[in-house]
């Protein structure tokens, strides 16, 4: 197994095209996750640097979504530690993880179907909205001011993702591609430090993939957001990501730049030998 993670210093590094990447933001140390007798993740360690785009790839069932769920605090690993910004993260509820600045999208879209696009994206701001119940009951004053301030931030995200025209539409009525974009908007609205994307390109045609890729790159470029994404499309992975982690049957079988990983025989045997798409 070729593991290149030691080549990257704890401090930052520079990518092939000259972008400067910061120090380690999140580190998974020896994570093991079991569901009853099934081992979903087996002793996996890798890190994510600040400002980079890290891809997690692997065959179906490798444990990638489970890893994302561990990062967002939905699953608690039986063994191992999660380190965030240099401090060990104690076991915490998912909403507390969100408050720390980690946002995500979901493999099967998890939008709130009873609300409009605007309301869905506004839910991304909920960790930042602090007015108490009494202030909200009164509305005028503190609560209204906070609502309008957050509305402004959300509108910027809506502009950025070009979904202005559908902001009042109930999300249940939207086609699949737009739903994915709204989900991204909701995650971005939280102004996260770390953005987790679970198969953001799933079910998209070439044009939609190009749009989504452009958005992801822009998010990383303009907002400096660190991104970890699960993806099957190797072309997307090669183009977008700075470094890649490869998983298979719950184990790590590759870790490095896309070029290094593609040259790794273990990875080729396990994953790329089978044709997709």
């Amino acid at each position: 197994m070729s593991d290149n993670s030691q080549d990257i210093s704890q401090g930052g590094y520079t990518t092939i095209d000259g972008r400067k990447i910061g120090g380690v933001m999140m580190e998974m140390k020896n994570i093991t996750l079991r569901f009853g007798g099934v081992v979903a993740i087996s002793d996996i360690s890798f890190n994510i640097h600040e400002g980079e785009i890290r891809a997690i790839i692997g065959p179906n069932g490798a444990g990638k979504s489970s890893m994302l769920n561990v990062i967002s605090g939905f699953y608690n690993p039986q063994e191992g530690e999660v380190w965030f910004h240099g401090a060990k993260r104690p076991p915490m509820r998912p909403y507390q993880v969100a408050e720390q600045g980690i946002a995500r999208t979901f493999q099967n879209i998890a939008l709130f179907e009873g609300m409009s696009v605007l309301d869905n994206v506004m839910t991304g701001r909920l960790t930042q909205m602090k007015s108490g119940m009494f202030a909200q009951a009164l509305w005028k004053g503190k609560a209204e001011k906070e609502e309008n301030e957050n509305r402004e931030i959300v509108e910027k995200i809506i502009d950025f993702l070009e979904i202005q025209a559908i902001r009042k539409t109930p999300v249940a009525r939207l086609p699949y591609g737009l739903k994915k974009r709204v989900e991204l908007a909701r995650a971005l609205a939280a102004e996260p430090k770390l953005l987790l994307l679970d198969e953001p390109m799933a079910g998209m045609n070439v044009e939609e993939k190009e749009d989504m890729s452009r958005f992801i790159l822009d998010v990383n470029d303009e907002f400096g957001t660190t991104i970890a994404l699960i993806e099957h499309d190797m072309g997307v992975v090669m183009d977008l990501s700075d470094r890649v982690v490869v998983m298979d049957y719950g184990r790590k079988i590759g870790d490095g730049t896309p070029a290094e990983v593609l040259a790794n025989q273990d990875v080729i045997d396990a994953y790329l030998g089978v044709s997709h798409d």
Partner: protein, 331 residues
């Protein structure tokens, strides 16, 4: 042995009997839930309606007599004939099958794919509808249900156990009707479990409960299975209605038994046929014992809420009940 202890044993035995009767109603719930994911709040009213129809047919009542009299100013109530019990039971069963078909056709076919809570609320509406309908059809006075089941104390059992106490102890009181009900319930549970596990239709039922689309794709007719299931539930309701009706008369409070079946289901698990029996027994004995031991200290009449609180506490620790399917949520 002290009098209180002996009385306590009698309480437990009566609790077991009551529990079996609860289980009878709970069975109907489990069946429908297993096959369609619908929690049928109307099961209790179905028992009431079945019992009303049975009595109505047996006594030759004119259906909707009150309504007809109100509209046309007539004063008719009975046809003048009487129908023997066995035939009446068959006819009532026919009515329940018709009911199953109508419910399928007009209510649940239009609600396929809705969330469980919407389906539940639809069955609440159904319960109200059926209650009003049943009252309009047969009238809401209390009716006596007599299909020839033996009632009253079991003298044999009393004599058998009279030796356990000291002088003046008459032996344990058990109502023969309750024993009959217990036997019937056990027969029902066993046969329904066997049916569900081993018969072709039972297997189809379980397939439908698991995944509607997949069941359709292997050629199972959703509508037929649902009509079948509601008919079986109707049959179970009829049995429950007969047992309860013979015991305390056919009246509105019969439908409230359904409310008691709910904690039984919570304890036993919504998807388990044997769970209905176990849950029923636990609740039956539990509430009688609690009222006997602790009731007098806190004002009595605790049977109104004990079953619910017990089930609630249980649910907090084991949300799927004793034998229910574990609820797994993924994201």
């Amino acid at each position: 042995m002290s009098d209180t202890f002996l009385y306590g044993i009698e309480v437990v035995m009566n609790g077991l009997m009551t529990g079996v009767l609860y289980a009878l109603v709970a069975l109907g719930f489990v069946l429908i839930y297993k096959a369609s994911g619908i929690f049928n709040y109307a099961q209790g009213v179905m028992a009431l309606f079945a019992a009303l129809t049975l009595v109505g047919i047996m006594e030759g009542q004119v259906p909707f007599s009150h309504l007809i009299n109100a509209i046309f100013g007539t004063n008719i109530h009975h046809f003048g004939w009487e129908v023997p019990a066995v035939l009446a039971i068959f006819l009532t069963m026919g009515v329940m099958v018709l009911f199953a078909y109508l419910v399928q056709r007009f209510v649940f076919r239009h609600l396929v794919g809705q969330e469980p809570i919407i389906l539940f609320m639809a069955t609440i509406g159904l319960a109200y509808f059926l209650e009003g309908f049943g009252d309009l059809m047969w009238g809401s006075e209390i009716k006596k249900l007599d299909i020839g089941l033996v009632q009253g104390a079991s003298l044999w059992f009393e004599d058998l156990t009279s030796g356990l106490g000291g002088d003046g102890f008459y032996g344990f009181y058990i109502d023969v009707l309750d024993v009959t009900a217990a036997v019937v319930a056990i027969v029902l549970v066993v046969s329904l479990t066997l049916f569900s596990q081993y018969s072709k239709q039972g297997r189809a039922m379980r397939a439908v409960a698991d995944d509607h689309q997949a069941a359709l794709s292997v050629g199972i007719s959703l509508n037929f299975i649902w009509i079948l299931v509601w008919s079986i539930a109707g049959f179970v309701a009829l049995v429950a209605g007969i047992m309860w009706g013979a015991k305390s008369g056919v009246q509105f409070s019969l439908s409230l038994i359904a409310l008691k079946a709910l904690p039984v289901l919570m304890l036993g698990g919504f998807t388990s046929i044997p769970g209905a029996i176990v849950g029923g027994l636990i609740i039956g004995v539990g509430e009688k014992l609690f009222e006997f031991l602790i009731g007098p200290m806190i004002g009595g009449a605790t049977e109104a809420w004990f079953a619910y609180v017990l089930a609630l506490i249980f649910l907090v620790f084991r949300p799927q009940g004793l034998f229910g399917d574990k609820i797994i949520e993924r994201v």
